[in-house]
């Protein structure tokens, strides 16, 4: 097979219906070639040899850099699967679905796949699906930061138990989810198909364009507000300055930047470039074919925890302008 195997991460709070969704997805022919890792004892009766159990071993690599937080056993399980596939000891698989525990922050798993020196050559993060329980989520959004991290990291939010919740409550929840993570698609569980589940994060990078044109805040807890906002910049952005800025922002505040997603109008580039990241992890930027609505402007959506929007924007602009000045002064040939 060519290229790294895509890994789809399924997360969601305790009892939010992850296993039910996964079981249904696995029944779809599109998922026939998927290996599955469950990091708690799953109830799915997987009768092939691909089921591995993953515990919460956390290993910090040299320099203690948080972006290198590695879940040892997850890495081990993925590497074992890879070797056994190569040796023909397990049925061939063309993708992997990982179901995390209900309390898990998805970031360490994403980071492991992206940063592990061997894993990163064989696997790639394809997307995060988060189940949201329509009955219990409203309360969780007020009290559990883990739930917000899971929602913030999602490319697709699947609402479960919508038949048990009053319609008004579902509509209210959808509005709140859009405020926390405007870049994610929202579907109810019956609507969600394997195709949606397998959609790659890079397939929908234009989300910010139809999400929200300007600042829209979703305040959840007065003492620690999780808010989302979008930054729109008309003039072309300097890639070098942007890279150093985002790297510094995530180094210092990564645990409070639940999500960055958007498209950039880069200097000397005809086509838009999509970037997206979860906490300290930034995926490889992707070239898009065309501007989503024909409008050539950078649009970035941030989901942050207790960070000042205006200051993020001021900082972004200061770095961008500085980078241009430094490049223009001729110190670089």
């Amino acid at each position: 097979m060519s290229g790294p195997t895509p890994v789809h991460l399924l997360t969601g709070f305790l009892g939010s219906g992850k296993t039910t969704l996964l079981r249904r997805m696995l029944a779809d022919p599109a998922m026939a070639g998927a290996a599955v890792l469950v990091n708690e004892f799953g109830e799915i009766g997987l009768d092939h040899e691909l089921l591995e159990r993953v515990d919460d071993t956390v290993v910090l690599l040299k320099s203690g850099c948080l972006c290198c937080t590695v879940r040892g056993e997850l890495a081990e399980a993925l590497l074992t699967l890879h070797s056994r596939r190569a040796r023909g000891e397990v049925p061939f698989f063309d993708r992997v679905a990982i179901e995390t525990t209900g309390m898990a922050d998805p970031y360490p798993a994403l980071s492991t796949i992206r940063s592990h020196p061997v894993l990163r050559s064989h696997y790639r993060n394809a997307g995060v699906v988060t189940t949201v329980d329509a009955v219990n989520a409203p309360g969780l959004l007020d009290t559990r930061l883990e739930a917000l991290r899971q929602i913030g990291a999602a490319d697709l939010l699947v609402l479960t138990k919508t038949d048990l919740a009053p319609p008004g409550r579902v509509a209210d929840l959808v509005a709140r989810l859009a405020a926390v993570n405007p870049s994610a698609r929202v579907l109810t569980a019956p609507e969600a198909t394997a195709e949606d589940f397998l959609a790659e994060a890079g397939d929908t990078p234009a989300a910010p364009a139809d999400a929200l044109p300007h600042h829209r805040d979703g305040n959840f807890r007065a003492e620690t507000p999780v808010t989302s906002f979008s930054l729109e910049i008309e003039e072309p952005v300097d890639w070098t300055g942007f890279g150093l800025w985002l790297t510094m922002l995530l180094d210092r505040h990564g645990e409070n930047v639940f999500r960055v997603k958007g498209i950039l109008n880069l200097q000397d580039e005809e086509r838009p470039v999509a970037v997206h990241g979860v906490q300290r992890l930034v995926h490889s930027p992707v070239h898009l074919e065309r501007w989503p609505d024909g409008r050539r402007a950078s649009r970035l959506v941030f989901i942050v925890h207790g960070l000042d929007h205006a200051r993020i924007e001021a900082s972004f602009r200061a770095f961008d302008a500085m980078s241009r000045r430094v490049t223009a002064r001729g110190s670089v040939a």
Partner: protein, 108 residues
């Protein structure tokens, strides 16, 4: 790995992604890679100069960060830059600190 000196690893930071279909990168060829590396070094040094630090590349494989008193740190990926720089400077580089934003605006 560098075949001459055996240094392991390389900078696979997202800003310097390996050229492959669909992925945006400025690493399309050797000259483009060197040009972007030089540009990044210049801009990083402008930021680091606010704390009197200096970054240089070592054989295109690693980065060497030096303080005015001669302390140095070697690391192989840009993702370590700001944590190493903060440690060497004695306080973190915070892009949301108004004072730091002002000093970035003052860089000419």
């Amino acid at each position: 790995m560098c075949s001459l000196c055996g240094v392991l690893g390389c900078d696979d930071h997202w800003t310097s992604a390996v050229a492959r279909p669909g992925v945006y990168t400025r690493n399309t060829d050797r000259i483009a890679r060197r040009r972007e590396a030089a540009r990044r070094l210049a801009v990083a040094n402008a930021l680091l100069s606010t704390r009197r630090l200096r970054l240089s590349e070592w054989q295109g494989q690693s980065y060497v960060l030096a303080s005015p008193t001669g302390n140095t740190q070697v690391f192989d990926a840009l993702s370590h830059l700001w944590s190493e720089a903060g440690a060497l400077a004695g306080r973190p580089f915070d892009p949301l600190d108004p004072e730091f934003i002002a000093s970035v605006e003052a860089i000419r």
